[in-house]
Assembly symmetry: C2
Homo-oligomer: 376 residues x 2
């Protein structure tokens, strides 16, 4: 704890009327979690939901800070990994929060990555029909993506994230020092979502990322700025469209192809993690846009070059092992996105920062494109 | 179906901004469910959640109406009774709704009493983070109480309704002819909640109930009016206080004592059903108010006389079997309601239609009062 010198955090306000909240971003924030939470909910108690890995690395710092501020807490640990987003863990956690006699004004605190955030958020949404919710995301992906927007949930045997609730947090603390303990691969995968915010709507941010990515990876001040600008971009989109009826779809840039690839490898993380799927998906979305004459090849080359420079994959062929044929990938896409009168919806682009929703994509064109990409 | 001649239904609007919806009340409404639902959600499909008893009596009428209007539906049946409000049924139903490939714009339809409504509502709130929700309540209790207000949920081993969501329906159809198949005891228990709306805030409605209760029980036009006025009373309270922070507590008139009695008999319905507990609880709340000098004995006598006239119990001694001592009942009350600095919160009254929230009730006074009532 003493090796970290906390500076004043950056604050991003998520504007959702009565459900508005702040995201604080800073290096070393975790050590001040106790006093910040005590100020937010005087007398409130916490159920801390975390996974075994995060608990080992960072829980002592959090509980020391809570104890010092007089915030009572109970820790509930789930196994690390996607399989914890299931009914059994959800039921067990709901029962444990009730057994700890927490009331509606007390809070569930999610301390971990996206899995812990999604699961703990759904528990917070459900116990006593909605408790307070605080997030301390510990991965780059969860700091810039899943901790903004209020989506919570678990998986069903019919698919991922199919059972859940929209439940906004009351506070998010993103401590960028926690990212120092991520593997290079996990950090890089989270970075794909950072780059996405530039590509979908902010060319100046993408320029800045090209200049500053090394400082972001190294943990310099650019890391806080990158997280803050990403959260601000997502917050602006979510504020405009909380329940995902329109523009929020832009956040899916790279995700239609990416999800199909993740599904094709059965979500086997040793072959492909989410952010890597998004990176390949973004490269494909740009290449497909170029194929349709929407964007110049030079733009595509620039996007691909940046993703490659940071070490992200950009071609389907970089995924280890056998991939299914184009027809199968197209079936997955069609199933995922709902075909409307024979046309597919994709996020396409007219240039860096100029993504848009296209609802009239011809499935045959996607199939031809994928066939070619599977060969290359 | 031909024995029923549907008249124009009464409409009660529940005003909740973007989540506003209509409750339609009328004799024979069920036969028009299909066309009304088709008009509300053109092209939408339904997951009908019901129990075995309701399915046997009324499902053919509903499905015939849906088929005639071209509304596709899948029926999912749960066992009748409170034990269906559990995690296992919740998980099974969520999975079944997904297996039926229903999308966010499709609807879950609750066709039954309070148990089915609470369970189906929580399923609707959770699948795809919120689907449309339609209620066709089939008991008097659910028509006047649980189908208004958006509370959904299941039971945990720590207590009733502790896991759930606030999820407003898109439409409620209250067909008063369905109540013809209720047992006398079940109808009467639902009537206790109707009388409650008069007692808590509408003296003219209570006068009217004293005049018209026989027509309500017999299924005359007063029944629709009683359901409509009850729904309107609850709707007004809920609109003013959707998340139960203040005035909504008035709806608990009779429920603090009533819940303690239900809990004391372990929710054994053969000894006491919810509405009977509420009837005894309302009599006790009036008697206790008189004891505190808040209301005249003549008012208490009038309230007790009406409840007795319709056949509802008004004394603890009318509950079959042994009751626990006053201290145990007080413990249940204190646990249920959270003691704030040694004082209890009760809904008390200054007269018919003049209930109010009193947060400073002395536990010792409640104990003395209950001791005396257990002897009488």
């Amino acid at each position: 704890m003493t090796s970290v010198s906390p500076t004043e955090p950056i604050t991003v306000r998520v504007d959702l009327g009565a459900r508005s909240y702040d995201i604080l971003i800073g290096r070393g924030l975790l050590a001040s979690a106790g006093e910040r939470i005590a100020a937010l909910m005087p007398g409130g108690r916490l159920a801390i939901i975390t996974d075994a890995t995060v608990a080992r690395l960072h829980l002592p710092t959090l509980t020391a800070s809570l104890d010092a501020a007089g915030v009572g807490s109970t820790v509930m640990t789930v196994p690390a990994g996607e399989q914890s987003k299931c009914f059994a863990e959800y039921q067990r956690l709901c029962d444990e929060v009730l057994a700890a006699r927490l009331e509606r004004g007390d809070a569930v605190l999610a301390f971990g990555g996206g899995v812990v955030g999604d699961l703990a958020g759904f528990v917070a949404a459900s116990v006593r029909r909605g408790m307070s919710f605080i997030q301390i995301p510990t991965t780059l992906l969860s700091q810039v993506d899943s901790s903004v927007g209020g989506k919570t949930g678990i998986n069903s045997r019919h698919g991922k994230n199919l059972i859940g609730a929209f439940h906004q947090p009351d506070l998010v603390l993103a401590d960028t020092a926690l990212l120092d303990t991520l593997s290079e691969r996990e950090f890089r995968a989270g970075y794909a979502e950072v780059a996405k915010y530039g590509l979908l709507g902010d060319a100046a941010f993408f320029d800045w990322l090209e200049q500053n990515w090394q400082d972001i990876f190294a943990g310099g001040p650019a890391r806080e700025e990158a997280v803050a600008r990403s959260c601000a971009a997502k917050a602006a989109t979510v504020s405009a469209d909380e329940r995902e009826s329109g523009q929020r779809a832009l956040l899916n840039l790279g995700h239609t192809f990416g999800h199909a690839l993740e599904s094709a490898v059965d979500y086997a993380n040793e072959r492909l993690v989410h952010g890597e799927g998004v990176a390949i998906g973004m490269a494909l979305a740009h290449e497909f846009s170029a194929r349709l004459g929407l964007v110049d090849d030079a733009v595509v080359a620039r996007v691909v070059a940046h993703l490659q420079e940071v070490g992200l994959p950009v071609r389907i062929g970089q995924i280890p092992g056998q991939m299914p044929p184009a027809g199968t990938l197209l079936d997955i896409i069609a199933q995922d996105k709902k075909v409307s009168r024979g046309a597919l919806t994709f996020i396409l682009t007219r240039g860096i920062g100029q993504a848009f929703v296209e609802k009239g994509v011809d499935p045959a064109a996607v199939r031809d494109f994928l066939e070619e990409k599977l060969r290359s």
